[in-house]
């Protein structure tokens, strides 16, 4: 009997811990997205040159891969997450300026933003509602991601528009898979650090937004 009480208490404390990670992740994610929006607006106002995007993405990735893991368990980790997301948002400025200058630019940006939000919220709700364990996707998503990166390297030299469209579509599929995988990891206690969980989900949202912009930008300007 005592054993039953103990296992119930353990399971409820684990559920509470999971809910706390989930709540903190979504809270930090909303704040970082808002902050990215502000730095993107600042970058647009300052009319930053196109190379800003490349420098910001490389800088953001280097900090995310080499600096963040060292500080993920301290309060400094939150500051570093804001630094990374602010930097990536700042890099988006010239990209948004370029799309805004297209005849249908405002519509493309609004649809990409709304579309990204719907995809993220829909997939998160699906993972939360089904409580399915998507850990089996790990290897598959990683191989897919590496292949799409190789294709992106090839297309830098080949410059084929259809291939670029295909790469963007595949990136959205893979990032959608990562949303399911990351959310399921939080639900099942595989990720207990909300700083790392936030940056993972932020990267998926960032990639989906950029890829949607590219797809809608190409498809919306065929006339």
């Amino acid at each position: 009997m005592n054993q039953n009480f103990s296992s119930v208490a353990q399971s409820s404390s684990s559920v509470l811990a999971t809910n706390k990670v989930l709540r903190n992740t979504y809270m930090l994610l909303s704040l970082t997205l808002l902050f990215s929006g502000l730095t993107a607006a600042l970058s647009m106002a300052l009319k930053m040159p196109p190379m800003t995007y490349l420098i910001s993405v490389i800088g953001g990735m280097v900090i995310a891969m080499f600096v963040l893991p060292r500080f993920a368990n301290s309060s400094a980790g939150i500051g570093i997450v804001f630094l990374i997301t602010g930097l990536l948002g700042f890099g988006l400025g010239p990209v948004l300026t370029m799309y805004a200058s297209l005849p249908n630019g405002g519509n493309i940006i609004t649809l990409s933003l709304g579309g990204t939000g719907v995809i993220f919220m829909g997939l998160s709700a699906y993972a939360l509602a089904t409580k399915k364990d998507f850990s089996f996707l790990g290897g598959f998503l990683m191989v897919g991601f590496l292949l799409v990166l190789l294709a992106a390297v090839a297309n830098i030299f080949l410059q084929i528009p259809a291939m670029s469209l295909m790469i963007s579509a595949v990136v959205i599929m893979i990032m959608s898979g990562f949303i399911l995988y990351d959310t399921s990891r939080i639900i099942h206690g595989g990720e207990t650090n909300y700083v790392l969980a936030t940056i993972g989900l932020y990267m998926t949202i960032f990639n989906i937004f950029i890829s949607l912009l590219q797809i809608l930008g190409i498809m919306g300007n065929d006339d």
Partner: protein, 59 residues
């Protein structure tokens, strides 16, 4: 070919090289999914594809 394309390509190659060890680890340690597991992945992804097609129609 301008310097931005070369830097982009180099950054992507470096990213692939850095990701390789964790990719190998994930491939080795991922549990195998059943057909029902894969269906629960394919259905939402299909919904995403339909949604993107709708966005393309709207733009």
């Amino acid at each position: 070919m301008d310097w931005m394309q070369i830097v982009s390509a180099l950054a992507l190659v470096a990213f692939i090289v850095i990701l390789l060890p964790s990719a190998r680890y994930m491939i080795k340690n991922s549990p195998k999914g059943t057909s029902s597991d894969w269906m629960s992945f394919v259905i939402p992804i299909f919904a995403v594809i339909v949604f993107i097609a709708l966005l393309i129609k709207l733009v």
